[in-house]
Symmetry: C3
Subunit: 220 residues, 3 copies
C-alpha cells in the first residue's frame, strides 16, 4: 500500500457519515441532560471531531478542521437539526446503535490510515486508529460527567482496535488500499454487529468474555 | 483590519484583567471543594489560561505562556492571594459574576483576533473565540467533577459566541481594529449583563429561551 | 549543567520504572471499577505516559512515544499483566504507594530536565516537571470520574513541585547533571516518604498544613 494515497471515495463518504452519526449521538446525550442549543452543538461537535483532533495533536499533525472547517460545519448542522427536530429517543435508538457501529468502523480505518501516512510506527498507528474511533465519545462522556462508555464492558473500543489492527497489518503486507480498507472496515463492523446482536461483553479479571445478558449489567 | 496588528492597549489590559478574574474564579471553586493551596493554584491557573491553551493547541500555535510566563505567574499569584485572603464568598459573589462577564467578553475578542491573525478560516476563528472564553471554565469543571457550567442553560457560552462572531464579522468588513474590538466586546458584555440582570436562560428542546427564574432551575 | 546532556542511565532506569509503576496504578484503578481488559490497558497507559504527553503538547515538542513506542508498549504490557495476574489489592497496596513515590520523584526530575533542555523559561520548566509527574494520574482520575487525588490534600503534587524546583535551581546554578538529578530526586522522594510515614496533609484556607490523621479525612 502507498500510505500517501488519498482515502478512497467510499471511505470518505463513510467518514462524513461517521461525523454526522457521532454528532447526532453527542446531541442525543445533550438531550438526556436537557442542555440548551449550544450544549447540543458543543457536545455534538466534540463527539464528531474529537477523536480525530486528539489523534492529530498527538501525532503533531495540523488539526485538519482548523484549516478546512467542512466537517466542523457538518457536525454543527447535525447537532442543530437534532435540537430542533428533537427525535423521539426510543424510536431512533435502534438506528443510532447501528449507525454508530458504521462510524466506529470507518473512523478506526481512517485514523489508522492517516497515522501510517504520517509515518507513525505500526503500534502507534494501531493505537491512533482506536483513538480516532473512540476519542470523541470519550470526550463526550468526560465532559458530561458520565462513566465513559468505552470502559464499561461493551465490546466497543475492542472492535475499533480490531479494525485498526487489521488495516495496519494489511497495509504492512502491501495489500492494495481499497481492499485493505474494505477488509478492515468489515472486520470491525461485523465484530461490533455480533456484539450488538449476541450481547457480547467483556468483563473484569476472571471474566474475560461473556455472551448474553446477565443480571448485573451496570453498563450504559 | 490588518489581522496582524497587535491588540490595542485597552484589550491587553482587559486580557490581564481576565486572567486574574478567571484565576480567582477557579480558586473560589477550589475553596468550595476545600482544596489545599496547590489545588487553589492549579485550578486557578487552569481556569485562567486553559481556554487560550486549548486554542493554541488546536491552531498549532506555540502555547504562548510556555515562552513568556507572565500570565502564568499572574494566575498563580491571583490564586495564592485568594487562598490566603480567603474572602467571604457571599460578599464577593456579586462582584465575581460581573468581573467574570468582563473577562468572558475580553477573551472572546482576543481569542478570535489571535485565530484570524494566525490565518484561521472565518468559522474556525469564531469557534476559537468561544473556546478561548469558555475553555478554562470547562477544564475547571471537568477536573473538579462538576457538570460544566457552560452547558447548563446559563446564557454564557452564547455571549462568548456573540462577541466572537461580531468581531470576526467586523474584521471581515475591514472595520478598524479598535472599533471592531470595542463593538464586539460591548456586544458580548451587554448580552451577558442582560442575562444576569433579567435571568435569561436557554432551555432544552421545546424551550429555546426563557426569561426570569422558574422553579426547576437545576443549573449552577 | 549542559541541559542537552542526555539523562543519566540511573534516571532512565527509574523513568522506565515510573512508567510501569504508574501503568500498574492505573490498571488497579480500572480494577476498582471492574473494567474489562481494554479498560485496564487504556487507563494504565494513560496514567503511565499521560503526564509526559501533556508536557510535550504544551511545549510544542513531538510527543515522544508516537515516534518511539517503547514506553507505550511497556505500559500496555504492565497493564495486561495486572489484568491477568489480578493481584490481591490489599497485599500490594503498601508496595504500590512506595513505588508510586519513586515514580513521582523520577518523573518530576525528568520532566523538568526535558523542559529546560527544550529552552523553556525557569518558571515554565518547574511547572512542566510537576505536570509530568502528576498529569497521568490527573487524566486517570478525570476519565474514571473520580475527584482528582492531586487536589485532595495529600502532600503529593507538592512533592513533585519540590523535586522540579530543586532540579531547576541546581541546573540554574550549574551543578553537574548527575548530582542535580540525584539531589532533586532525593528531595522529592524523601518529602513524599515523610508525608506517607507521618501522614502530612495540606488543608483548605486556615489550615495550611496538618500532621497526623484527623477524623474528617475524606481524601483517597
Amino acid at each position: 500500500m502507498a500510505a500517501n494515497d488519498p482515502l478512497s471515495i467510499g471511505i470518505l463518504v463513510i467518514m462524513y457519515f461517521g461525523d454526522v452519526v457521532f454528532a447526532v449521538s453527542g446531541a442525543l446525550t445533550a438531550a438526556r441532560y436537557r442542555m440548551d442549543v449550544l450544549g447540543f452543538v458543543l457536545i455534538g461537535t466534540i463527539t464528531g471531531i474529537g477523536g480525530g483532533t486528539i489523534r492529530d495533536l498527538l501525532l503533531g499533525r495540523p488539526v485538519w478542521w482548523t484549516q478546512d472547517p467542512t466537517e466542523l460545519i457538518l457536525c454543527v448542522a447535525a447537532a442543530l437539526i437534532t435540537f430542533f427536530v428533537s427525535p423521539g429517543e426510543n424510536n431512533r435508538r435502534r438506528g443510532m446503535v447501528w449507525a454508530d457501529a458504521l462510524g466506529l468502523a470507518a473512523f478506526a480505518v481512517v485514523g489508522c490510515h492517516i497515522a501510517l501516512a504520517f509515518g507513525a510506527p505500526f503500534v502507534v498507528a494501531v493505537f491512533m486508529g482506536m483513538i480516532t474511533a473512540t476519542g470523541g465519545g470519550l470526550l463526550r462522556d468526560v465532559i458530561t460527567n458520565t462513566q465513559p462508555m468505552i470502559l464499561c464492558g461493551q465490546l466497543y473500543a475492542t472492535t475499533a482496535l480490531v479494525g485498526s489492527l487489521t488495516y495496519a497489518t494489511l497495509a504492512y503486507l502491501a495489500v492494495p488500499g481499497l481492499m485493505a480498507e474494505t477488509a478492515a472496515f468489515l472486520a470491525a463492523f461485523s465484530l461490533r454487529a455480533a456484539a450488538i446482536v449476541f450481547d457480547i461483553r467483556m468483563g473484569p479479571p476472571g471474566e474475560f468474555l461473556r455472551i448474553g445478558a446477565s443480571k448485573d449489567s451496570t453498563s450504559e
